[in-house]
């Protein structure tokens, strides 16, 4: 649905009324970036298209669409130094099954392999999932927990952004999301619990740091932007009771924003503590799911 600018009412375009646009189908990243610059800002990138069609039906009117499907560079995975680089154009299906992803961060591959549906997974990309900016899409939850950096390319420059920053600004001002970079993967243990989806899901990253680990928990849900809590984990955490206390203390720090008209923040904090305790046990004690 769209609310007309004059306030006269709501209208419901179907897929038949997608506005006309100039189509570009570049084959390299550089070419895509150059086209984006020449289209003076009012161009959108098209990867899987799953969400772009929705946005077009809801009133987005671009002058140009830059289709990314011919750019192989966007579908590479690499591990350079200790950074895992994931091409933003990888589909959920291809990305989660990629051997380097599975080897580097098995928990990410496992979590990623479960999101969306089989059919969507063949089409939708990790970049599209992030930049759709829909709370119920899950990749932002996983990647925020992993402290991922998003690498944007624009003509003559590159920049990075954190995952939470995507909610604040549109990608048009940044350029093309080329890759997602996960730092220090050799020090990372990761778990994603979506057993309570869509009421809430929790991603947890433990980053090994000498005698301590740092924990980064992110809670997501269907209507609210993901929220982070970071905490320290002493390796002598004191058994299951210690984990419980740790999980409860961490979950208690999630802000009230995690509540919505359907599910209270109080409930989400309480259950996040339950999930976090289970996740800590899995990561620290190798407890099976």
């Amino acid at each position: 649905m769209q609310l007309l600018a004059n306030g006269a009412g709501l209208v419901a375009p179907s897929q038949r009324s997608i506005p006309e646009f100039r189509l570009h189908q570049p084959t390299t990243l550089a070419e895509a970036v150059e086209i984006a610059a020449s289209e003076s800002g009012n161009a959108v990138f098209h990867a899987g298209g799953t969400d772009l069609i929705v946005q077009l039906r809801e009133g987005l009117i671009p002058d140009a669409v830059i289709a990314l499907s011919r750019i192989d560079e966007l579908r590479t995975v690499a591990r350079i130094d200790d950074v895992l680089q994931i091409g933003a154009g990888l589909t959920h299906d291809a990305g989660s099954a990629h051997p380097l992803v599975r080897r580097s961060v098995p928990g990410l591959a496992a979590g990623w392999s479960q999101i969306a549906t089989v059919r969507i997974r063949f089409t939708a990309t990790v970049g599209g999932n992030l930049l759709a900016r829909r709370a119920r899409y899950e990749m932002s939850i996983l990647l925020q927990s992993l402290d991922a950096r998003l690498r944007f390319h624009r003509q003559g420059a590159q920049s990075t952004a954190t995952v939470p920053e995507i909610w604040a600004r549109s990608e048009a001002s940044r350029g093309l999301l080329a890759a997602i970079e996960i730092p220090d993967v050799s020090a990372v243990k990761f778990d994603y619990d979506r057993s309570m989806r869509p009421v809430l899901t929790v991603a947890l990253t433990l980053r090994h740091n000498g005698r301590y680990s740092t924990g980064h928990a992110v809670i997501g849900s269907e209507y609210r932007v993901p929220q982070s809590v970071e905490f320290g984990v002493d390796h002598h955490y004191g058994g299951r009771l210690g984990l419980r206390a740790l999980a409860q203390q961490a979950a208690a720090r999630f802000p009230d924003d995690i509540g919505d008209p359907v599910t209270s923040a109080r409930y989400r904090r309480r259950v996040a503590a339950v999930l976090l305790e289970r996740q800590l046990a899995r990561l620290l004690e190798g407890k099976p799911q």
């Binding site: 179907s14 069609i53 929705v54 669409v65 059919r119 969507i120 063949f122």
Partner: protein, 164 residues
Amino acid sequence: MKEPNEVSLRVNGTDHHLGVPANTLLLDVLRDRLRHRGVKASCQRGVCGACTVLVDGTPTASCSTFAFQVDGRSVECVDGAADDPVLAAAQQGFRECAGFQCGFCTGGMLMLTTALLRQAPDPGRELIAQWISSNICRCTGYEMILESVARAAEILRESQVGEP
């Protein structure tokens, strides 16, 4: 040299060269230009799967796929592809086990089934349920669809017995 808006695609084995504006979706090419009315549209945001077709064998929501994306590719949809043995087995399975009621989701369910059986000729219940969860059926409660897919796999295996 091709016109900028020209798209070449193969639909159910027949090649087409069409001039279509860039903002045209595959769904509308199939339904309006090529008269494949078995491809339905419902939610128009890629969720329900009533518009599912196979693009180079991959189940795809045609409502969320631009025609330019299938340039040079092969599309299969439920109407007119009966000579494919896997689709034929899927259709037979759905008929025998009544894996349909109103029929509006059925074309999409059959294409999903066809793609599944091509990669997993003997899928278990869990795998079938995973795949069928891609699309919405509001009528059946799914159980009879799951049985239809399992039966289709059986039909396919039976038909292949004795072949080299």
